[in-house]
Symmetry: C2
Subunit: 176 residues, 2 copies
């Protein structure tokens, strides 16, 4: 179970509500790990039961149900334990690859527009990453260790997008 540990890490960086976590998961860690709000609420409930985190009504809750979660010592111990485990590299499960292979088996299926759409998506993601890099990591080598590690995650994303664009362009030429 790794979503829970991603949430623990995110909560360590900043105690938050489930809603805020869901939105942050669309940024930072979320560049590499998407989760719906339902998954997040489910995991938060489990982790609270397990004694990894505690929640309290948010200071700015008013009459809403807003709750803030923070990591308990037991949660930090669990995160340290988990971090020491080895892990398998992610798999590259991309539906587009299957479609292209179907195209190879059945003859031209007109996948060029889909490839163009993908290229555009990768380009806008790349532009977003580069903006963040300019804004937050311009002075990288002199930044604190934690910021440098965060910069490396961003670079991983940038590399991936650049690659994907280059590859898709070559694929597009082949389809024509």
């Amino acid at each position: 179970m790794a979503l829970s540990h991603a949430l623990l890490t995110s909560l360590l960086e900043k105690s938050s509500s489930g809603y805020d976590l869901a939105r942050r998961f669309d940024k930072s860690i979320g560049f590499f790990w998407h989760a719906t709000h339902q998954q997040i609420y489910r995991e938060l409930a489990r982790m609270e039961l397990a004694g990894w985190i505690a929640s309290s009504s948010a200071p700015d809750a008013g009459k809403t149900r807003k709750r803030i979660y923070c990591v308990l010592p037991l949660g930090q111990v669990e995160l340290l334990r988990w971090a020491a485990e080895p892990s398998a590299p992610m798999d590259l499960r991309d539906e587009l690859m299957v479609r292209l292979r179907a195209d190879a088996a059945l003859g031209s299926l007109g996948l060029a527009p889909e490839l163009e759409r993908r290229i555009a998506l990768h380009q806008s993601q790349l532009a977003l990453y580069r903006d963040i890099e300019q804004r937050d990591f311009a002075a990288s080598p002199s930044l604190p260790r934690a910021a440098q590690i965060h910069h490396m995650m961003l670079k991983k994303g940038i590399l991936y997008e650049e690659n994907s664009i280059a590859w898709a362009r070559e694929m597009l030429e082949l389809l024509r």
Copy 2:
């Protein structure tokens, strides 16, 4: 549902038993899509119920239960329908990224050996891909369309492994 369509594609290329599919999924398509034999048997049963594929006792079955599956016209129609759908780029869900972020939040967790292990894994995968490329695609530009598409899948894998190695080396330097 995309595993079923990956299986359809694989069966179009060659009618096979579930067991053979599981093993082929550890090669070719399986470079980009891992599935356990249980998932595969489950999907095959569903697809046969849906009329996408048909099975018959294998010629070499002897007294075993070995069955060969082949794609029916309905299955091919379904694959064509599905191939025309747009699809989202895969997400980069890598546990190592979460571990590194935990390292950034909590201080040095000693992740260097894990990074070294990862680099070794990527290198052996890369070596495997390059062997296949030499063996099957040395004369790429003169090969038939289908083979060229297969070559592009392999190149995608090669690019990914090269990238991962370069990135992990830089990360390793930062951790030291």
